[in-house]
């Protein structure tokens, strides 16, 4: 049996990767997916048991299966409402999102979309505030409020993640719970090469933040399944209204993402010309470079 993997980037192979939202997976049923060009199958048991394995002729998509009975399972776990797996030796724990345990929050998968983009390009776009007024007009931004004000970026050594703080932007309609436009504060975390967690001030509680995360499942170097996790404060709207808001935003980003060129993110600092507003993108590229990530990027020359 061929055990070779098409991705030879050990940093990426050893990561946890999201495969799907638990709430959308049928119980005791084989589901097929792709990760790093490998065909994988997965199953979820009624008690929350999960199993992920390299697809084989024995179990076809749609077959009934007892998830607990699967042998040769890859490392798999459930976190933040998603099933995660690894093709290598992953760390014990996934990065923390403590807010996920706060019981008064709405926690849902806004959608999982296929996008023809590399995972790093998608993450970098998620970090960018400069496009708000032009791409998300009248929602996340509006002219003439186009300035990206000075913000701070740090790489936390202890937690090995990027942190962008003091990000502020005027937003006409910051969330499904917004009544009016407001200056919104953002905090971005990049705790994983293909995942980012955004905190934005909640329109319903000034002391707390809505948490919106994007988890990229790399299908190949230039295609992803983008999972959008919401963990927000909104007591009024139906799930589908909250999802609709986030899907509208993502649908606006999609053509921008798919038209990035080159599709892989260049890590050579001379490859693309950044402006001051791109501080977090510069930190992200440096961080990927330092980690030695090769998959989905154009590595910097030595």
């Amino acid at each position: 049996m061929a055990m070779t993997t098409r991705c030879s980037d050990s940093v990426v192979l050893n990561l946890w990767h999201p495969l799907g939202a638990l709430a959308e997976l049928p119980v005791d049923t084989v589901v097929d997916t792709v990760l790093l060009e490998e065909r994988l199958s997965l199953a979820v048991g009624p008690d929350g048991t999960v199993a992920v394995w390299r697809s084989c002729a024995e179990f076809a998509a749609g077959d009934k299966i007892d998830a607990a009975s699967v042998c040769n399972s890859l490392p798999a776990k459930v976190a933040y409402g998603y099933l995660w797996a690894s093709l290598g030796c992953p760390p014990d724990e996934l990065f923390p999102i403590p807010e996920y345990d706060e019981t008064d929050r709405r926690r849902l998968n806004a959608a999982t979309f296929g996008v023809n983009v590399s995972a790093p390009r998608a993450i970098e776009n998620f970090l960018d505030m400069g496009h708000f007024p032009y791409v998300h007009t009248d929602i996340l931004g509006v002219e003439p409020h186009t300035e990206v004000k000075e913000y701070d970026v740090d790489i936390s050594v202890e937690r090995d993640e990027i942190l962008a703080t003091r990000c502020r932007f005027f937003q006409p309609l910051a969330s499904s719970a917004s009544q009016t436009g407001a200056e919104v504060e953002y905090i971005y975390r990049v705790p994983h090469p293909y995942c980012s967690v955004l905190y934005k001030s909640s329109p319903v509680d000034g002391a707390r933040y809505d948490v919106i995360a994007v988890f990229m499942q790399p299908l190949s170097q230039e295609t992803v399944r983008a999972h959008m996790m919401l963990c927000i404060l909104d007591e009024d709207n139906e799930d589908k209204v909250i999802k609709r808001f986030q899907q509208t935003i993502f649908g606006q980003d999609k053509p921008i993402l798919e038209n990035q060129f080159p599709k892989r993110l260049p890590l050579d600092p001379r490859a693309e010309t950044p402006i001051r507003a791109d501080k977090s993108a510069i930190a992200y590229r440096r961080w990927l470079n330092r980690k030695g990530v090769k998959y989905g990027v154009i590595p910097a020359p030595n």
């Binding site: 979309f113 589908k240 209204v241 609709r244 899907q247 993502f250």
Partner: protein, 215 residues
């Protein structure tokens, strides 16, 4: 008031929002969780449309399904100038209906390719893309020869019709299904003309026209 059962990312829902915006018709929307919730297959929705498809409208008790059929209804009822669906012009009505059927073909190909790539529908992606290119080639030639004759729109009239509205969305969204419009210059020019119509609105994935070129 008209109630539109609506999904933001659906091109077939968008064409109704677009025509209603152009005609200045007021409406309210009922969001349907098409994806990932598949609410268009839920019992309550199948009672409205047993085909389990969006869009559906309810206009004061009249329930209609099928995007093209609804365009006909809206234009026939609410277009006071009578140019979007000229009820007294049999030749033009024939032409419009021909292109409404063509728009269904675009849905069956270009939209299918987009559903495959973005929402993981199990379609034959190569067949969908090839089918879309075949239709785009036909429309591009039709528009190109039209331009030579001074015709700006799909049908033989100086005004846009619902045929333009019906064909526009899934052509505009085709790249999300991996179908480039690079080779269809007349389609690209026609898309820009649609975008400059008074009352034009966008949906996610469709951007407004750039600033007009200086004369």
């Amino acid at each position: 008031m008209i109630k539109l059962y609506d999904y933001e990312l659906s091109g077939n829902c968008y064409k109704l929002r677009l025509l209603m915006s152009i005609l200045g018709v007021e409406y309210s929307t009922v969001p349907v969780d098409f994806y990932p919730g598949r609410e268009h297959k839920a019992g309550w929705f199948l009672k409205l449309n047993p085909l389990g498809q969006l869009p559906v409208i309810d206009d004061d008790g009249l329930v209609l399904r099928d995007a093209q059929a609804i365009l006909v209804y809206l234009a026939a009822k609410y277009d006071t100038a009578g140019t979007w669906y000229p009820r007294d012009n049999p030749e033009l009505l024939g032409e419009i209906t021909q292109w409404l059927a063509f728009a269904d073909g675009i849905t069956g190909t270009a939209s299918a390719a987009r559903l495959h790539d973005a929402l993981f529908y199990d379609f034959d992606i190569n067949a969908a893309r090839a089918g879309a290119h075949r239709l785009f080639r036909i429309l591009d030639e039709h528009l190109w020869f039209g331009e030579r004759q001074g015709r700006e729109w799909i049908c033989s009239t100086s005004q846009p019709t619902i045929a333009d509205i019906a064909c526009f969305p899934y052509i505009m969204l085709s790249e999300e299904g991996g179908i480039s419009r690079q080779d269809y210059p007349a389609i690209r020019r026609w898309c820009d003309r649609v975008k400059r119509l008074k009352g034009f609105i966008v949906m996610s994935g469709v951007f407004p026209a750039g600033p007009a070129k200086a004369a």
